[in-house]
């Protein structure tokens, strides 16, 4: 897959609600468009987005072709302990892109 942009605050107080934003470059080909030869371009989308904090799920989404290209998500979570936030994007071909962000909770 492509480049990912992740916005996670580097530091947070324990119990604070933090904003997380994630974007990955992906065409999200719907399977309903025709190519230059007139044939349908086969579907290729990210169908699942999963975010874990030290292994525990904090947010996930099941996606359909109606999600715009370069899928972007913004959500919140409560900071509990220092560690790693892992972002995983799964596409139709069975590939997964994994990105991580470190956060210190005081």
């Amino acid at each position: 897959m492509g480049r990912a942009l992740i916005n996670v605050p580097p530091k947070a107080r324990k119990g604070q609600v933090i904003d997380i934003k994630a974007l990955v470059s992906h065409p999200m080909e719907t399977g309903y468009r025709t190519g230059p030869d007139g044939a349908l371009v086969p579907r290729d989308i990210i169908n699942r987005f999963l975010v874990t904090w030290n292994g525990q799920e904090i947010f996930s989404a099941d996606l359909f072709p109606a999600i715009a290209a370069n899928p972007y998500f913004a959500f919140t979570t409560i900071a509990q302990e220092s560690g790693t936030i892992t972002f995983r994007w799964f596409d139709d071909k069975g590939n997964a892109q994994v990105e991580t962000a470190a956060i210190v909770v005081e």
């Binding site: 025709t34 904090i58 996930s60 989404a61 072709p65 109606a66 999600i67 998500f73 959500f75």
Partner: protein, 156 residues
Amino acid sequence: MIASRKSLLTPNRRGLLAAGGGLVGLLALRPAHATASAMQEAMKAFCAGVTPQAGRVTLDIPPLVENGNSVPLTVRVEAAMTAQEHVRRIGVFNERNPQPNIAVFHLNARSGRAEVATRIRLGDSQIIAAIAELSDGSLWTATAELVVTLPACVES
């Protein structure tokens, strides 16, 4: 002899009706748009037998969209987001894209706020609906109507 020739050349009423029926069938087969009934069915599948109540959900989406390829959407749900009361799932549905589903977001007691933002595609001016499932099993819903000037999925 003359009568049979006439029936061969001039299209009679029965033949016309049959041809017309075939044409309607062809049009119906085109996978152009999800219909309102497909949307209702997708929403029913999400609800799994529980009737959603109106309220508590806010759909933040521009009422007039210039480009359907990327439409900012924010869904908010009024919920305490504690272990006792939190949002488990939020389903977003559309009426007139090729598929009725847009996304299903999974939240939990640790989410802090029941608020998710993303960007979606819209193939036509239509109605968007969101359903939120709370931890007590209750379902809440909201709809938003919007106009799309340049729909998605038209360019090749």
